[in-house]
């Protein structure tokens, strides 16, 4: 219970980071993102779809990502998000901050980074 609570709290702060990170490789659509996050975290990290989109819109508003409707043959219409150069810079900065933070925690609390 304790740990689930800690993760839930952490999730809020990390959602933006996670989304940016997943978009770093290639443009993805919202549904794909939820699937990826769920799969990679082994189900420990899930977003309600409305909050995921809220995050996407917030990032888009800050111009860190950019969405675009794409219609491919034989597929339904989807909105793909790609990371912008500005977003990439933010991601790099955040990654750096988070790793400094984890090192600090490891030193202080003896938590091992996986």
């Amino acid at each position: 219970m304790e740990s689930a609570g800690a993760i839930r709290e952490a999730k809020k702060g990390t959602a933006e980071l996670v989304v940016l990170a997943f978009l770093d490789d290639e443009p993805r659509h919202g549904y794909e993102l939820t699937q990826l996050i769920e799969a990679r975290s082994g189900g420990a990290l899930t977003f309600n779809f409305a909050s995921l989109y809220a995050t996407l819109y917030k990032l888009e508003e800050r111009r860190w990502i950019q969405g675009r409707w794409v219609e491919k043959a034989g597929q339904r219409r989807r909105r793909y998000y790609r990371i912008t150069p500005e977003g990439r810079a933010v991601l790099a900065a955040q990654r750096k901050e988070w790793s400094q933070f984890f090192e600090l925690i490891r030193d202080l609390a003896g938590v091992e980074h996986a």
Partner: protein, 900 residues
């Protein structure tokens, strides 16, 4: 399949957002719907059943909160938030069906009444004739013209591009016995060419068909589309068929287009026949060469570059020649210069008669709509106040003032649109009903009431104005609310302000209602004065039978004996109490007059010397219940050869005899000087043998004119083809129609007969007053009802708002009676202000209705006081229930509530 799924997901998302009071941009809805669709599809692909897959998507949806996504700025290119507003508005209105129904109903009545009256105004006063370039048409005003004058104008081709003449009448299509009348017109051969109307079947007639006695094709007739459908069932082979008009066979040669109703607004025709065929029908009584029978209307089409002034000048230049050609040497004969007026604005009789009443009624309906607006504004204001909590929370959550105001305007728009839609239905029905009311038995009023652009624009404008009137105030009020206002202060400030505004609305309502109630009672009193007026004759159980011998092949001199035989037969019938013949029937619209001198009295000049006349048989006074006040009645010996006698009415005695005893004086009719007949012998003087009490001659509203009656057999009217056989019946006047008809047929089967109760003539003569009284009464009642609803709402609301205060007062010992007084005094104050404002308005508006009233002053104090009393009583009733409820408030409950 996929599309349908998407539609469903979109709709689920929207519903969900609505429930949360969130507004999602279409872009966002689309994306979320895509997401749910993917979720659903993936689940299916992984082997879930339809139901499971759907449940999974729905779970995701129900766990979602749209708070965050809704903040996303709307896609700029899609301002569809309005659709959302409207959807919300519809739901709001459905949430309180009673309030919405009352609002929509009052709007439907308000907008409907305005549209109905306006569509009549439109077709009667505004819409041009449905003919080619109507602005080039001019009419020869004022009044009617003789055929000789028309022929002179017709033959002067240089005057206009084209000219035509017509006369509206009724044609009897029955072959014998009881008549079967249709609306007809005598028309010159040029009428269709001048108006630019083509036949849709066959051909229209031309000047060739208009030759005297008929053209090469014999007597021909053109029928209207409506008559073609009604009488011939739209038969394609109607052209060439025979139609018996006044028992003369006419060949149908064509059908006019559906929207063509003839040359005059307010009338329509079934059958048109050329003026030239008139002698075939009227025989010796033909009017074609009559120089003093004025029966034709004349219209001309200006040449393309001819101005109205130029046409007038040309026609006036020809006037002396026309005068000499038609009636040389006559005095006072077409001396007024001819005047042409644009046909588009020319006032038909119907226009003149109804122009002012229509404008008054349109003002009344506008007031009704205003009252309805005030009522709805109050309802919406009350609802907006009830929703202040919701609004301030939404403000706190970031909704802009504009956003909230727009929401309320959307609600008003939905209300007024629904009201307008229902109003158009009301208008269609109402305007047709009104036109039926204007029509009388022998004068069918026809107005083209189809919805045209002008009426639609009017309705839309009224609807928009209405929306603004009742929707803007609540919207502004809400827009002014601060976030958390309601939560912090329980919205008491807002409520107090609302109370003041509602108060002014109620004052306005009371004031306008008072104006309407005053108008209603003025018009109702006018109508009842007219109907209860002692006409001087008894209209109940009197049947008027018009007997027409025109087509009966009876020589002129033998007509009266036939009529007298008819009278004799009818008098013997068991159901008939009295019977008499007359030339004129009172209030029938017919008139006959002449200038006279009375022996041993000063000569009167001009119109003063004029008296109305009638020719009657001895029992006619008794049949109508007219009282003889001096001298004797006519007897069977007052016939041709016996000394000429007359009976005069009291008005005649007042005008001509100035206090002298009239019996024994003689009446000398004046002869119009005629240069062609200088030796014309003046008619013999007639001795006054009796005086009859005053009775209405034609118009109930006018003073009884001087009238003299002469025995039919001594009168020059003994040769006319049509007389009125008036019968007093034992039972209902129409009960003996059959026996009377068969008695007349026994005398001569070729006589044409028409039955109509005398009361019907009298009622028809006050049709205008009846319709105005009816409308004013209806709308006055409606105004009272709406004002009382408004007062009831306001008082209930005030009581609710003052519950804590009233509770405390009662806890401190206030008696229930005191509480009732407290509540009522607030309402009474508003009503008093309303009545004062309303009285002032009524006094001001009085100037516009004076001409329409009879035996009641427009500023009649009694009416004003009565109306104010009625309004005050209604207001007291409306406020009584809430006041009573206030007195039943339990102080302990209220005190507990306010502690909580």
């Amino acid at each position: 399949m996929r599309d349908r799924d998407m539609r469903e997901w979109r709709s689920l998302i929207r519903q969900r957002a609505d429930r949360e009071w969130r507004e999602l941009s279409p872009d966002v809805v689309e994306e979320l719907a895509c997401h749910l669709a993917e979720l659903h599809a993936t689940a299916l692909a992984r082997g879930a059943s339809q139901a499971e897959a759907r449940a999974r998507a729905l779970d995701a949806l129900s766990a979602a909160s749209f708070l965050e996504v809704s903040k996303r700025p709307r896609a700029r290119h899609m301002p569809t938030g309005h659709v959302h507003d409207l959807r919300l508005a519809v739901r709001q209105l459905r949430a309180s069906p009673l309030v919405s129904a009352v609002a929509i109903l009052s709007l439907a009545l308000g907008i409907g009444a305005n549209t109905a009256i306006f569509s009549i105004v439109n077709s009667l006063l505004l819409r041009p004739l449905p003919v080619e370039t109507p602005q080039q048409l001019v009419t020869l005003s004022e009044g009617s013209w003789t055929n000789p004058i028309w022929e002179q104008i017709r033959d002067r081709h240089e005057l206009f591009d084209n000219a035509c003449a017509w006369s509206e009448t009724r044609f009897n299509l029955a072959s014998g016995g009881e008549t079967e009348f249709v609306d007809g017109i005598w028309a010159s051969g040029s009428v269709f060419e001048t108006l630019g109307v083509d036949a849709i079947l066959g051909r229209t007639f031309t000047t060739v068909d208009d030759r005297r006695g008929g053209g090469p094709d014999g007597p021909v007739a053109v029928i209207s589309y409506e008559f073609w459908q009604r009488r011939f069932g739209g038969a394609a082979d109607v052209v060439g068929r025979t139609l018996k008009v006044e028992r003369v066979p006419f060949t149908v040669i064509g059908v006019t287009p559906p929207d063509f109703f003839g040359p005059e607004v307010g009338r329509t025709f079934d059958v048109a026949i050329p003026i030239g065929t008139e002698p075939i029908i009227k025989g010796q009584g033909s009017w074609l060469d009559e120089r003093s029978t004025w029966w034709l209307s004349i219209m001309a089409r200006l040449k393309p570059d001819q101005s109205l002034d130029a046409a007038n000048a040309a026609l006036r230049a020809a006037q002396p020649a026309i005068r000499d050609a038609t009636a040389p040497g006559w005095n006072n004969y077409i001396t007024e210069p001819f005047t042409l007026a644009p046909a588009a604005t020319n006032k038909s009789a119907l226009r003149r008669h109804y122009e002012r009443p229509l404008i008054v009624v349109l003002s009344i309906t506008a007031l009704v709509l205003l009252i309805a607006c005030a009522n709805i504004a109050n309802l919406l204001l009350a609802r907006a106040t009830a929703r202040r909590h919701e609004f301030s929370v939404r403000r706190a959550l970031g909704a802009s003032r504009w956003r909230l105001a727009r929401q309320l305007v959307a609600e008003s728009t939905v209300l007024s649109t629904a009201g307008a839609a229902a109003g158009i239905v009301v208008a269609r029905w109402g305007s047709q009903f009104l036109v039926r009311q204007i029509s009388t038995t022998d004068h069918r009023v026809f107005l083209d009431l189809s919805l045209d652009t002008r009426v639609l624009v009017f309705t839309i404008a009224v609807t928009i104005a209405t929306t603004l009137l009742f929707g803007v105030v609540p919207a502004l009020r809400v827009a002014a609310s601060e976030p958390m206002d309601a939560i912090k202060e329980h919205g008491r400030n807002l409520a107090a302000r609302r109370g003041g505004l509602s108060g002014s609305l109620v004052v306005a309502q009371v004031a306008l209602s008072l104006v309407l109630v005053v108008a209603a009672s003025l018009f109702t009193r006018t109508f009842t004065s007219l109907t209860n007026l002692d006409a001087g004759f008894d209209r109940e159980r009197v049947l008027v039978v018009s007997v027409n011998a025109e087509r009966a092949q009876i020589d002129r001199s033998a007509r009266l004996p036939v009529f007298e035989r008819v009278l004799e037969r009818v008098q013997r019938l068991p159901g008939v109490v009295e019977a008499g013949l007359s030339m004129i029937t009172p209030t029938s619209g017919q008139g006959w007059n002449g200038d006279v001198d009375v022996s041993n009295t000063p000569r009167l000049e001009g119109r003063q010397a004029r008296t109305f006349r009638n020719a009657i048989t001895p029992r006619w006074f008794a049949t109508l219940g007219m009282r003889l006040v001096a001298g004797r009645a006519f007897t069977d010996s007052d016939r041709k050869g016996a000394p000429p006698v007359v009976i005069v009415n009291q008005a005649f005695v007042r005008r001509f005899l100035d206090g002298q005893d009239p019996i024994g004086h003689t009446v000398q009719r004046r002869v119009i000087f005629n240069r062609n007949r200088p030796d014309a012998v003046p008619p013999p003087a007639q001795e006054i043998v009796g005086v009859v009490a005053d009775a209405i001659y034609d118009n109930l509203r006018e003073q009884v004119p001087p009238t003299m009656f002469e025995p039919l057999d001594q009168s020059e009217m003994s040769v006319v083809p049509q007389l009125a056989l008036t019968t007093r019946t034992a039972g209902s006047p129409m009960a003996d129609v059959r026996s009377i008809a068969s008695a007349i047929r026994d005398v001569n089967a070729d006589l044409a007969i028409t039955f109509r109760p005398l009361a019907d003539y009298v009622n028809a003569s006050v049709a205008r007053e009846r319709i105005v009284a009816m409308l004013a009464g209806f709308f006055g009642g409606l105004a009272l009802l709406m004002a009382s609803l408004g007062l009831f709402g306001l008082t209930s609301y005030t009581v609710e708002r003052r519950r804590p205060e009233i509770g405390i007062r009662m806890a401190l010992g206030a008696a229930p009676a005191g509480v009732i007084r407290l509540v009522l005094s607030g309402t009474a104050g508003l009503v008093a202000v309303g009545i004062i404002v309303g009285s002032t308005l009524s006094l001001w508006a009085a100037r516009f209705v004076g001409a329409l009233l009879y035996q009641v002053e427009a500023r009649d104090p009694l009416t004003l006081v009565g109306a104010a009393a009625a309004l005050a009583a209604t207001a007291a009733t409306a406020a009584a229930l809430p006041a009573y409820r206030a007195s039943r408030i339990d102080p302990s409950t209220v005190l507990r509530e306010s502690q909580a």
